[in-house]
C-alpha cells in the first residue's frame, strides 16, 4: 500500500486494490459478472410465523412481510424504498443484503445466488465471505451501532483487520485517517481518538458510513439512515452520501418513510423511488414520475401525507380529507384478498376484491401494481364497491 500523502491518488490505488480483490475472487466468471446486474431480487418472499404458541398450533397463519418482490440494482444505482411502518421495507432491504434469509424467491449478487453461495460453497462462483463484504448496512440509530467503550480508531480498525490483513499497523492507521477525511471528519487524528459519546449524532452517523465504506462495498443498505438526524443536518448527510457514491461507485438501497427525502436522494442520483405496501412494491419509477404522475392510489396517499412548507398550499391541504377510506393498515397476517390495498383504496371496485394486480407499465412512466394502469382492464366495467366503511370511521 502506498504511503503517498495525496489523498486522491491513495484513493485510486485503494480502489484498484479493491477491484483486484473482486476480480480475483470472481475470475472464474468474468463474463457473467459483466452482464449480470449487480443485485437481482426475484419473486422474493419472506414469511414469518405469526406470534403466539396457540395461534401457531391452531392455524398456519404467516405474516407476509415481503410477498413476491422483483427488483434489480445496477452499479452506482440508488433505489429508495418508501412505505408506512410494517410494510416490509426493512425486511426486503435486509434480505437484499443477505441479512435475512428469504422463504421464497432468490437474491443474486452478480449472478450468484447469495444463499447458494453460503449453503453450497463448492458449487458457487463467488464466496459467501466476498458477498458479505460487498453488501453492507447502515442502521437508523448511530448511537446504538457504535461500541460506546471503544475509540473511533479501534471501531474502524476492526473491518480492516479482518479484510485487509496485508496492511501493517501504520498503513491501517493511514487508511482509517483517509476514510475519516472522506466522511468530512477533519482533523482525522482528533476524531480517531474520540469515544462515540464525544460525537454528535451527525458525526456518529458519518463514522458508521465510513465504517461501511472501508469494506469497499458494492451495495449499502441505508435503513432510515438520516431519520435520527436534525432536519437541518439531513441535507448535509444526503449530500455526503451522494458525493461518496461518486467517489466509490457504490449502489444504495435507501429506506425512508419520508417522501421529501426520498425525492431529494433519488432525484440527485438519478435513481428510482419504490413505494411499498403490505410486502409488495406497488409503484416504482423516477422521482418525477412518482410524484407528478402517480397511478397507484396509495402513492397518492403518501403524497397527500407529506406536508408542504408553502404556507398557502399547506393551509389548503389541511382542509382536505385524505384520499383513503380507512386510515389504519390491515393486519399483515390476514391481508385482504385480491389487491391488498382495496380495503383502503378510494378507487376500489368489485374486481379489486377478487383479482390480484401485477406491476403494469403505467401512462405516467411508472410501473404500478394497479388495474387502473391498464386501459382496457375489466376493472373499468366492474361495479364500484359498496362503501360500508365511510371515511368518518378512521378507527
Amino acid at each position: 500500500m502506498s504511503t503517498e500523502t495525496e489523498t486522491e491518488r491513495d484513493r485510486k490505488s485503494d480502489e484498484e486494490a479493491a477491484t483486484d480483490e473482486t476480480t480475483n475472487t470472481a475470475t472464474d466468471t468474468p463474463d457473467e459478472a459483466g452482464s449480470e446486474p449487480l443485485l437481482s431480487i426475484e419473486d422474493l418472499e419472506v414469511h414469518f410465523d405469526a406470534g403466539g404458541l396457540v395461534r401457531k398450533l391452531l392455524s398456519d397463519t404467516k405474516v407476509r412481510a415481503v410477498d413476491g418482490v422483483n427488483l434489480e440494482l445496477e452499479e452506482k444505482d440508488i433505489v429508495v424504498l418508501v412505505g408506512e411502518s410494517g410494510c416490509g421495507k426493512t425486511t426486503l432491504g435486509k434480505s437484499a443484503v443477505g441479512l435475512q434469509k428469504p422463504t421464497g424467491g432468490s437474491v443474486s449478487y452478480r449472478g450468484q445466488d447469495i444463499w447458494e453461495a453460503k449453503d453450497s460453497p463448492r458449487s458457487s462462483d463467488i464466496d459467501w465471505a466476498e458477498i458479505r463484504r460487498a453488501l453492507q448496512i447502515i442502521h437508523q440509530d448511530p448511537s446504538t451501532a457504535l461500541n460506546s467503550s471503544r475509540r473511533v480508531e479501534a471501531i474502524l480498525a476492526d473491518p480492516l483487520k479482518k479484510w485487509r490483513t496485508e496492511l501493517s499497523a501504520e498503513e491501517r492507521k493511514e487508511t482509517i485517517y483517509r476514510y475519516l477525511e472522506y466522511v468530512d471528519m477533519v482533523p482525522a487524528e482528533d476524531y480517531a481518538n474520540r469515544y462515540p459519546h464525544q460525537l454528535s449524532g451527525g458525526e456518529k452517523q458519518r463514522i458508521v458510513l465510513g465504517r461501511a465504506l472501508l469494506m469497499n462495498p458494492d451495495v449499502i443498505l441505508a435503513d432510515e439512515a438520516i431519520s435520527a438526524l436534525d432536519v437541518s443536518l439531513r441535507v448535509e448527510m444526503m449530500e455526503l452520501i451522494l458525493d461518496l457514491q461518486e467517489t466509490f461507485d457504490t449502489s444504495y438501497l435507501f429506506i425512508s418513510h419520508d417522501l421529501a427525502n426520498a425525492r431529494y436522494l433519488a432525484k440527485r442520483a438519478g435513481g428510482r423511488i419504490a413505494i411499498m405496501y403490505l410486502g409488495e412494491i406497488v409503484e416504482i419509477g423516477s422521482p418525477d414520475e412518482i410524484l407528478k404522475n402517480p397511478t397507484h392510489p396509495y402513492t397518492k396517499v403518501l403524497r397527500w401525507s407529506t406536508p408542504s412548507i408553502d404556507p398557502e398550499i399547506a393551509a389548503e391541504e389541511i382542509e382536505t380529507q385524505p384520499p383513503i377510506r380507512r386510515i389504519d393498515v390491515p393486519d399483515p397476517a390476514d391481508p385482504p384478498s385480491g389487491c391488498k390495498f382495496h380495503t383502503r383504496c378510494p378507487e376500489a371496485r368489485e374486481a379489486c376484491t377478487q383479482m390480484e394486480p401485477e406491476l403494469y407499465d403505467a401512462e405516467g412512466g411508472t410501473k404500478a401494481n394497479c388495474f387502473r394502469a391498464v386501459s382496457n382492464h375489466e376493472y373499468w366495467s366492474s361495479p364500484e364497491l359498496e362503501d360500508e366503511d365511510e371515511i368518518g370511521d378512521w378507527g
Partner: protein
Amino acid sequence: MAIGQPHQSTTDAETKDTILEVRDARVQFGMSRGQAWVLNDVDLDIYREEILAVVGESGSGKSMFASALLDAVEDPGVLSGNVTYYPEDTGTVSSDEIETFDASGSDSVDVLDLTQSELKRLRWEEISMVFQGAMNSFNPTMKILHHFHETIRAHNAVMEDRMDHVRDLFDSLHLDFDRVMKSYPHELSGGMKQRALIALALVLEPDVLVMDEPTAALDLLMQRSIISMLRNLRDEFGLTIVFITHDLSLVAGLADRIGVMYAFEFIEVGDPTSLLNDAAHPYTRALLRSLPSLTSDLDEMKPIAGSRPDPVNIPTGCSYHPRCPISDDRCEIEDPELVDVDDENEHKAACFYTDQARTELEYTLHDESMEDM
C-alpha cells in the same frame, strides 16, 4: 425582548386575549463543566384559542419551554421568571374548581407560585400536556376505559358529564368509542393510542393543550390526519394549543403563529405566511433553505453551516453570530431583541440586520417547474 405586550395594556389586548404570559423564563442546569442554560430569558405571550407552533432543532430548548409552561421542569433544572395564566372570565365547566388556586378572586394565576396539589389541578384542568411517545404511557394491564375513569375520579369530577364529553372528543378524533374503550393498550395501533391519549388529556376540559412532538413516532399519514383533527378540536372546544416540533413543514398549515427557537430562546415569531414566505432572521432563512420538500428546488438547498451552540458556552451577543454569514462586530457583543419587522402583522425577529438578511440570504420554498403538482 418582549413579544407582544403585557396583558390588557396595549393595542394587542383589544384583538388578542392573552391566556399565558411568559416573562424572563430561564432554566439552568448545574453541570460538571459549568452552568448550562437550557432556556434563556424567554418572553412570550400565548393568545386564547390560537395554535402556536414552537419549532426548533434538537437542543434548542423547545421541550424546556413546554415544561416551563406547566412548571414541570425536572430536577436538577431550576426554573426562574414568571409564568402567568389568565383563566377565562366566564363559566367554564371547572370554574368553581379554579378557586382552589384562585381564592383571592384575582383573574390571574402565578403558575410558578403554586403548591403541589394546586399544580396537579392546574395541569389537568387548565393546562394539559401530551408528550412525545406518550402513547406508551398507558398502563398495559388496564383497559383504556379504566384510564379515563381513574382520571375523572382523581379530580372529583362528575363521571357522567365527563364521559359525555369524552364521546364528543372521540367523535372529533375519529375514534370508535366502544371499541377503543374496551381495548387494552397493546390492542390498539400507535395512532389510535396517541389519539386516545389526546382525548384523555382533554377529559377535564382544559383551556390550554401543550403537545411536545405528539406525532413524531407515527407514520406520515397518521401524522397528517392528527394535524387536521387538531384544528377541528381547537374550533370545537375553544382550545389554545401549543404544538412543539422539529418539523417546520408539519405546522405550516396548522399554526396561527410560529415561534422559531435557536440556542434556548425565540429568535423569530410570526404568522406562517409572513414567516415562511419572507423570514427575517438569518437562522430561519438558513433552516428553510435546508428543508427538502416535495416541491423544493434541489439545486438551491444547502445545509446550515457550523454546529449548534453548547448550552454551557452560548456565544456572546447574538447566539447565532458564529454561523451567520452576515454577522459583524456588533453581533458579537450586543444581544439583539425581538423587534417588529412588519408593522401590520406581528412578525418579530431578533436580528440587527433583517433587511440585509431578506435581500442577501436567498431561499425558495418551491421550484417553479414543480408548479403543476
